[in-house]
């Protein structure tokens, strides 16, 4: 009961901050709501005994990616006067699509028969980081190394674009 309450709290705040994030006129405010969102997602990870992921959620998403967003948003310096409503002219379509998907999810939950693989359960070993380390360096090695190449390409791209801009 308590657990359900905690989860519902996290879920509610996640949804609310997500909605606020996309509706705020000031992009810097959007970033703040996104930060709130990340915190509560980390909370959900904690509920699932994925403490390492919770920490990563904060370190990488909140601490690095969102900082980059914040820099970009602040660097862009959107004029407050020019900032019209954030609503795109297609917003009724998008809202309709969103409601459609949401309805489908609700329908799905009402049917009740959501097959879940029994192997998926909360690990109680507490060795999250260690288990992750072993998996990452044996079974998931190739995706891991590919990830490093992707990071490398990202770095090359970022430097290339930034240098191009500086030169101009």
């Amino acid at each position: 009961m308590l657990l359900k309450g905690i989860f519902l709290y996290f879920a509610a705040v996640i949804l609310l901050s997500a909605v606020l994030m996309i509706t705020r006129r000031n992009p810097v405010h959007s970033v703040v709501y996104m930060l709130l969102l990340f915190f509560h997602i980390a909370g959900v990870f904690v509920l699932l005994n994925a403490e390492f992921l919770a920490a990563v959620q904060l370190i990488v998403y909140a601490g690095a990616i969102l900082i980059l967003y914040l820099f970009v948003v602040m660097l862009l310096n959107v004029d407050k006067e020019k900032l019209g409503s954030r609503a795109h002219r297609f917003w009724p379509w998008m809202a309709g699509f969103g409601i459609l998907i949401a309805g489908e999810v609700v329908l799905l939950l009402l049917r009740g028969s959501f097959p879940v693989n029994p192997e998926l359960s909360v690990q109680q070993t507490g060795a999250g980081a260690e288990a992750l380390g072993i998996a990452l360096y044996t079974r998931y090695l190739i995706p891991f190394e590919i990830a490093s190449v992707i990071l490398l390409v990202g770095l090359v791209g970022a430097v290339m674009l930034a240098k191009k801009t500086i030169k101009e």
């Binding site: 810097v28 405010h29 403490e51 390492f52 920490a55 909140a62 690095a64 969102l66 914040l70 980081a129």
Partner: protein
């Protein structure tokens, strides 16, 4: 168990520790300013605060009361919402970091308590990551304060400060990974226990390097001298908190001091053996022999938590000492120092550790 027992249980296991820890943080936040002023003054052959109480001992309280009565000014052009949020966020993050820090092994306080209680609020398996995560979120407080003030100095100060903090986070992370590699755990208590024979600072050749890396990055993370560029008053007035007054200003100060304490605690835990007492020579070597073992035994008499706090206050003194001694870096030097020197050095340290561990040398 009756309801009363449960309430008492919660009181003992939660309320008292929370109160004690919170008190500790507040006391530190207040009295570090006193310590800083006194130490700086004496280093510059001055006396520092002397008027309020014996040798100015009541100065922090007077300062606090004064700040309560100061007008709270929010500039008309500021983004009021973010302007208010920034210091609060920063303060929350720096206070919450203390939760995961272990202050000593479980103890019964020399028989006062019937069973042993741990000297930590919670022992997280990812303790070190938790502290790091909160520190990285603290960057928002700085940058948001700078942006929300709508003041050119604040904005530049905030940006500089944030860029500096993230730049030094990388060598810091690599230094921590070196420690994790040595200890084999992310749990802070386990990291301390791994140092019962040998503190990580004396694990040659990597220990001292990693220690220095962490120390330097730690000072830079807290925006303290010689890395206090964001607050370089000669060019940026007061940096990101130029526009803040009264209690909001106080919050930035408290957060900074709390951060200093956290960094000192982490340095002690990660490199200086945490609550382990000093050993003149290790037990495994000549330390077992009589004259040395007597001294080692003497050291062991002091409670572990005091050892930890001793190290912490020495480090805090060291930070103040740095401020009194070193000139401020130029911003380009500061960035280059992190990216071109500390980063490769920290990577090399990490790799050396891994190689030596692989070869069974560590």
């Amino acid at each position: 168990m009756t309801v009363m027992d449960q309430v008492a249980n919660i009181a003992y296991s939660l309320i008292i520790p929370v109160a004690v820890l919170f008190g500790f943080i507040m006391l530190n936040a207040a009295y570090l300013s006193y310590m800083e002023r006194k130490v700086l003054a004496h280093m510059q052959a001055r006396m520092g605060p002397m008027m309020t109480g014996w040798h100015g001992i009541l100065q922090p309280i007077a300062d606090g009361v004064k700040l309560f009565f100061k007008e709270d000014i929010i500039p008309a052009k500021a983004d009021k919402w973010l302007f208010s949020l920034a210091p609060v966020l920063l303060l929350i993050m720096s206070i919450a970091a203390f939760v995961a820090i272990p202050f000593g092994p479980p103890t019964d306080f020399y028989g006062i308590l019937s069973n042993k209680v741990p000297l930590w609020l919670t022992n997280l398996n990812v303790g070190i990551l938790y502290v790091l995560a909160l520190a990285s979120v603290g960057t928002y407080g700085v940058i948001m304060a700078g942006w929300a003030s709508n003041n050119k100095y604040s904005l530049l100060g905030g940006f500089r400060s944030a860029a500096q903090m993230i730049s030094y986070e990388i060598p810091m992370a690599f230094a921590i990974i070196t420690v994790v590699l040595l200890a084999g755990s992310l749990n802070l208590a386990e990291i301390v226990n791994a140092q019962s024979e040998k503190w990580f600072i004396i694990v040659l050749p990597v220990g001292p390097v990693a220690f220095l890396l962490y120390l330097i990055s730690g000072v830079a993370e807290t925006n303290r001298a010689p890395f206090d560029l964001p607050e370089a008053e000669t060019e940026l007035v007061a940096g990101f908190f130029t526009e803040y007054t009264g209690m909001r200003f106080a919050m930035f100060f408290m957060a900074e001091y709390a951060n200093m304490v956290v960094i000192s605690l982490l340095v002690s835990i990660l490199f200086l053996g945490g609550w382990m007492p000093v050993q003149i020579l290790p037990n495994t070597w000549l330390g077992g022999m009589p004259p040395v073992s007597w001294i080692n035994g003497l050291f062991r008499l002091m409670p572990p938590v005091l050892w930890l706090l001793g190290k912490v206050y020495f480090l805090l003194f060291f930070f103040i000492w740095l401020r009194a001694t070193l000139p401020r870096l130029r911003y380009d030097q500061l960035m280059a120092f992190s990216w071109k020197f500390l980063l490769p050095l920290s990577l090399a340290t990490l790799l050396t550790t891994a190689v030596m561990k692989q070869m069974g040398l560590l």
